[in-house]
């Protein structure tokens, strides 16, 4: 590659070789030091073989700084083709370039914005919930097939992972309980403890968390992408209510899928307890089952299912609120999806605690 050489001769910089993106930095360094002192600098271009945009930019920036310091940069001996380049490169009014906020500032802004974001998402969720309930009244309007498609996606496709996790949690829970209760010779009460925890808390909550990760996130991302691609705008201009068209089938599907999955999770969790009871505590299967059935009341199952319906609504409304919120590009879809998962897990725990508290007060 041809080298760039710069000779200094009083106030003149004599440049030889190509002045391109590979070499322009050298000219810039030579200019930068001199223009800061003020006074005029002449750049002799007669030896320059090729003048590119980077070279022109070095001259332009040098000239601007020279003027700021009260001096000038002028060129000498430009060839006709250099003149053409310098003629085509125009100097727009100068505006400072914006840099991305450094990491710490970004963190600060993030913390500052978090409160506002939570308030906004609650407001959005409220709006979406109202719209969804209002339009749910009118039914899915020919969207039966769509509802079934979502039901398969949210429900049956998620069953294997829900069942597996519930079984493992049932095992772990029974182990913990067995170890403690055996010391008091109260091994059989493992059945009570597992049944109560699984039916009332673990089954519904664990199912909902899995559904948030699998389906809530996918709803938020899917709708978010539709917003970015103006598909939601297109629906609106067609006179089709996007909430009615997009949200209602998902709402119906979720309202069926989450309780159904919860039933499977309950069964798997109880099975996990039974396995530990039989293998580790040497309780006969019949005895374990009898103990469970004698202790559990239908209300235990029902309160769990009631919760799971509330969870289903939380999942849909939060995902839809974030999904349909205005977007400026693909990165906002990613952020909205993350925020929807975090918000729905938070609301899920809030709803669960509230219902459990009220239920306990009501029972006692």
């Amino acid at each position: 590659m041809e080298q760039l050489r710069i000779e200094t001769d009083g106030d003149t910089l004599r440049v030889r070789g190509p002045l391109t993106a590979e070499t322009a930095a050298a000219l810039w360094r030579a200019l930068e030091a001199r223009v800061a002192e003020g006074g005029d600098v002449t750049v002799d271009l007669s030896g320059v073989s090729r003048l590119g945009t980077a070279g022109a930019a070095a001259l332009a920036e040098g000239s601007a700084r020279a003027r700021a310091a009260g001096g000038r940069v002028v060129v000498a001996g430009p060839r006709p083709e250099h003149e053409e380049v310098l003629e085509q490169v125009v100097l727009p009014p100068v505006r400072p370039h914006r840099r991305r906020a450094p990491f710490l500032e970004h963190l600060g802004a993030g913390a500052h914005g978090a409160g506002a974001a939570l308030a906004r998402s609650l407001r959005l969720a409220g709006g979406a919930a109202w719209l969804a309930i209002a339009s749910a009244w009118r039914g899915p309007r020919g969207r039966f097939a769509e509802t079934v498609r979502h039901l398969v996606r949210f429900g049956s496709d998620g069953a294997p992972v829900v069942v597996t996790i519930a079984l493992l949690l049932g095992l772990a829970l029974a182990f913990q309980a067995a170890y403690q209760l055996r010391q008091f010779g109260a091994s059989i009460f493992v059945a009570n403890l597992v049944a109560l925890s699984v039916l009332r808390e673990l089954g519904p909550v664990m199912t909902a968390v899995v559904v948030i990760g699998r389906s809530g996130s996918s709803i938020a991302a899917e709708l978010g992408t539709m917003v970015v691609r103006e598909e939601v705008d297109a629906l609106e201009v067609m006179g089709i209510d996007p909430v009615q068209y997009l949200v209602v089938p998902r709402l119906y599907a979720m309202t069926i899928a989450v309780p159904a999955l919860t039933v499977f999770a309950d069964a798997a969790g109880l099975l996990g307890g039974l396995l530990i009871g039989v293998t580790y505590l040497d309780i006969a299967p019949q005895a374990y089952l009898q103990q469970t059935l004698r202790f559990v009341v239908p209300g235990d199952l029902l309160i769990g299912l009631f919760k799971s319906v509330l969870f289903a609504w939380v999942i849909v409304f939060v995902a839809v609120a974030y999904g349909l919120a205005p977007k400026s590009g693909p990165d906002t879809v990613g952020r909205a999806t993350t925020a929807s998962v975090v918000t729905s897990i938070f609301l899920l725990v809030l709803v669960d605690t509230t219902v459990t508290t009220l239920h306990t007060i009501w029972l006692t």
Binding site: T42, V43, A56, L59, A60, S63, V73, V74, V75, A76, E83, L86, E87, Q88, V89, V90, L91, P92, P93, G142, T225, M226, R229, E230, E231, D233, A234, E236, V237, M238, G239, I240, D241, Y245
Partner: protein, 268 residues
């Protein structure tokens, strides 16, 4: 009132995205039965104006009407009723990615009519053939070229023979032959199907073929509107640049670097 002849109008429309004012006091008329072309350079606010007219963006000042309705402020039910009589082709197509091309075109029929399914199928096939996409019916939008997506979106926007058809650059990204075919189709819609067309375009040749009327936007302001010949005859330099395809003089972009670097005594 003159409104009876207009399918859409805007009065004193202002709109800003943050600090950037994109529409500045736009007045524009779109007469019934005509093809009106909205002209203007890139970033001049054409798409924004169209979105205001259909109610997707709310202006910060001024008013609009679409088929006699104040679309921005009207209640949802009235809005939807009017929008059913309107079609819109988005600049990026906005086809539903989860459906095939055929399902996309069929959607307005399914949602807004009670036609028998066999008839809907036939209408979809007819319109897809008209835009030259007979073979693409069962493909996904992502499997089409940019120009094909544009045409599929035009098929969807026009399937109900809307009273007003808004087209954001219907022939951008198409080869000259297909582009001429789309122009012919728009003229057919306007003359035979009584569709009033509002089309954004950069293509002078296409404007000459289809426009009854033009609205010229520069920097968010309407600088001229009327019959094509009248506007073309205007001495306004900004119109001259557009019609003669001249780049604007450099003073408006900035000073040439050469002037800045020339020694004082050598100045021309």
């Amino acid at each position: 009132m003159a409104d009876v002849d207009l399918v859409a109008w805007a009065r004193g429309l202002d709109l800003a995205f943050g600090e950037r004012r994109v529409l500045r006091g736009v007045d524009a008329d779109f007469p019934r039965g005509a093809i009106t072309c909205v002209l203007g350079g890139s970033g001049s606010g054409k798409t924004t104006l169209l979105k205001c007219l259909v109610g997707l963006l709310a202006p910060s000042a001024g008013s609009t009407a679409l088929l006699g309705l104040d679309i921005v402020r009207a209640p949802a039910a009235e809005r939807e009723a009017v929008l059913r009589r309107v079609g819109m082709l988005f600049q990026q197509g906005a086809l539903f990615g989860s459906m095939t091309v055929g399902e996309n075109v069929r959607l307005p029929l399914e949602q807004h009519t009670r036609l028998p399914p066999a008839l809907m199928d036939r209408m979809v096939d007819l319109r897809l053939a008209q835009v030259g996409l007979a073979d693409a019916r069962d493909r996904r939008p992502s499997e089409l070229s940019g120009g094909m997506q544009k045409r599929a979106a035009l098929a969807r926007a026009s399937i109900l023979d809307p009273e007003v058809l808004f087209c954001d650059e219907p022939s951008a990204g198409l080869d000259p032959v297909v582009s001429a075919g789309i122009d012919e189709l728009l003229v057919f819609f306007a003359r035979r199907l009584h569709v009033s067309v509002v089309a954004i375009t950069h293509e002078l040749s296409s404007v000459e073929r289809i426009a009854d009327r033009v609205v010229m936007l520069v920097g968010g302001e309407v600088i001229a509107q009327g019959a094509l010949d009248e506007v073309r005859a205007s001495p306004d330099p900004r119109l001259r640049e557009f019609f003669e395809r001249r780049p604007p003089p450099t003073e408006r972009l900035g000073r040439p670097l050469l002037d800045e670097l020339r020694p004082r005594d050598a100045r021309r």
